[in-house]
């Protein structure tokens, strides 16, 4: 049986609930789970003040309610599954290293910052800084997958080093800014200044996009490796058109103010 958490009181100020995490809830009984510490603003309060707990923990946690003001759900988790039926607040899955998080609604900023592994799926839209590094950190996402079915805002994959970020909708400005390595796939449109300061890594986009002058066009080709990616995305429930699979891509390399070893692949089909 899954553990069910239902928000009964809406927090007035953000609630930091990094205790909602399989690693922390493992082998606790219902009273102990209710007594886990959260921060309501800067005050310590037990989880039960905001959530009604039922069921039993078997590795899965289902959360219901409007969680827009609930932060850090699934932070540092390493196994198990968290399903959020509505919208969710910032820092979901921060530094997670395994397991899966599924959000049926929209996510706020900072989805999976500095994550190491596992998968986060957002069925709605996500905010800024998806899979990025915290301010001051030199390395962001280091593994795992973030799949967003809707749109994302700015600075997706900032200083990312490994892993996969997929955006089925549009992404904002500075997609893959300063990225070190890894893969970002955008099936919609990208904003401006894509890949600014990128050293290595791949940014793939299904639409044309205006790039910075520090990127140079190297060739048009049919990247075979993309088929594997697209197949994987189809298995995750995303809709990939056949034309995308069989079309050539423009390859741009940059950012030449950095190593110039990054690549941006733009769809070149008709």
């Amino acid at each position: 049986m899954t553990l069910k958490l239902k928000l009964h009181t809406k927090p007035e100020v953000p609630l930091e609930a990094d205790c909602i995490c399989p690693d922390r809830m493992q082998s606790l009984n219902m009273t102990e789970i209710g007594d886990l510490v959260t921060y309501h603003g800067n005050r310590q309060v037990p989880l039960k003040n905001f959530f009604e707990c039922s069921g039993e923990f078997d590795g899965e946690i289902d959360i219901e309610g409007d969680l827009v003001n609930v932060k850090h759900i699934g932070s540092t988790m390493s196994f198990g599954k968290i399903t959020v039926s509505g919208n969710v607040g910032v820092h979901i899955g921060a530094a997670m290293s395994g397991g899966e998080i599924i959000v049926e609604g929209d996510a706020s900023d900072w989805v999976g910052p500095e994550m190491y592994g596992g998968r986060i799926t957002i069925k709605g839209n996500a905010g800024h800084m998806v899979g990025s590094g915290y301010r001051g950190s030199t390395v962001g996402m280091q593994g795992g997958e973030i799949i967003v079915h809707g749109n994302v805002k700015n600075e997706t994959g900032h200083v990312m080093r490994r892993g996969l970020i997929v955006v089925a909708g549009n992404s904002g400005d500075f997609t893959g800014v300063n990225m070190l390595a890894g893969t970002i796939i955008v099936l919609g449109e990208m904003g401006i200044r894509t890949g600014a300061g990128m050293r290595r890594g791949s940014i793939i986009c299904q639409t044309k996009s205006e790039l910075l002058p520090t990127f140079t066009r190297s060739c048009d080709y049919l990247p075979l490796f993309l088929r594997h990616y697209f197949k994987h995305l189809e298995s995750l429930g995303l809709i990939i058109s056949d034309s995308l699979i069989n079309s050539p891509f423009e390859r741009w390399c940059g950012d030449s103010i950095e190593l110039n070893r990054g690549e941006i692949l733009l769809y070149a089909g008709k």
Partner: protein, 551 residues
Amino acid sequence: MYIKLTNGIVYDPVHGINGEHRDIYINDGQITRKPSSNTKICKTYDMKGKIIMAGAIDIHTHIGGGKVNIARMMLPEDHVNDLVERTELTRSGCGNAAPSTLTAGYRYAEMGYTACFEPAMLPSNARQTHMEMGDTPMVDKGAYAMLGSDDFFLRMLASKKDQAAISDYVGWTINATQALGIKVVNPGGISAFKFNQRKLELDELNQYYGVSPRDIIKSLARAVTELGIPHPLHVHGCNLGVPGNLNTTLETIDAVEGMRMHLTHIQFHSYGTEGDKKFSSGAAEIAEAVNKNPNISIDVGQVLFGQTVTASGDSMLQYAGHWHAHPKKWVIMDIECDAGCGVVPFKYRDKNFVNALQWAIGLELFLLVDDPWRIFLTTDHPNGAPFTSYPHLIRLLMDRSFRNDMLSTINKEAAASSTLASLDREYSLYDIAIMTRAAPARSLGLKNRGHLGPGAVADITVYSNHKDKEKMFSKPDYVFKDGVLIVRNGKIVKVVNGGTHTLRPEYDNGIEKSLKRYFDKYQTISLSNFKIDNDEIVEHGNSKIIVQPCM
């Protein structure tokens, strides 16, 4: 309203009281003589068996100014790993090497410190420094204005302006920036770095201005003497961290020609070039020179092992050290063309030869300098270690067997090349009371602090006499600030705001004419906005400005 501390064992070096049973009376925030017998004592604390000292004073700790903020912004890991919850009294915070302002204030008070001094306040950055210090609760504070690599001063020196004009400029700077002293960092070197010089010896010329560090130190030391500033020129000398800089330091001591000078974090300036690794301890030579020259005082800048962050105005040295950054990120920047700033996170490792020897050199200095009145206990927070490691450092000084145990765990080669094992000296509580209370207060010219005589401000710390000195000094039983009980059993019981210590040296205001012209031509802010008003400091959370007299 009289408060009496009775039955305690008092250490008050200013009055030569070495562990004697004395009663202490507090009235109106001050220590007083024993009142007449019909005066009502409102509160009596029984301090049976407890050690009573004045509140401790940290003469050199980076708790404000731009560089600390850069360190905070650059090191999210330092915050994540050290979160401080809010309590009913205190506010939340975070950070170990670069703690938030509030947390720094609370932690200092909980260790029995009642005053802290920021040693590197850049004049153009003074407003931020004072705002940050204003946000640091519990303790008194003050700052030394940093001169020596600023364009206006170097121009004056290059054009051979007479000393009186330079003294006026120094006096004006102290008044304008509400400083308590003058510091010079890598004299002329920060400026030389911008003209592509990567090192600057004491007698080497700054290529652009044609002046040498020796000229700068001499000129500033003279200005400090002429203005009657109580704290001697606070010198962070040339060649910090460079093997062989021991000779530079000895030459610097000679350079001031008998004028008073404070050499700061001297551990980083006491390296020789002997041995296979061309890195050795110069502590013996430095200690001998300090012992011989009564005009010199030092603070050590002890290194203790662990993760910290180095923050300095010395961009030349920080650039040279950035290759060793851990975690790998760093900032070197210019500030208003008047100085620089470098922030490099660093991890001192006990198994690393150089780090282990640095640790030993610092301790050798502590043990070889005879006069505790001229050597102060610092780690150059956060450059050598965070200030929270002071109790550990005190135990290393007071407990020889503990010191030798620690010595046996560090890098073998470093331990073998150090004379530390042969040094038997153990600091007494009286020595500690001198070096952490009486001596810093005297050096800074704080007449009514650092002692427990009548008329002193009632900043008092009371410890239990544990055998484990680390335990003793990390958790005082009582701390009084201005006669108010603020800490009980190492926990804050009342939050107060300390004052800001400043000076008002006299100078010829005619200097403002040429400064006005200079500011209009070159500076980003006007002269009138550059100066910091009393009200700005008071309104921003500080309870008061305390003007210290000049000599």
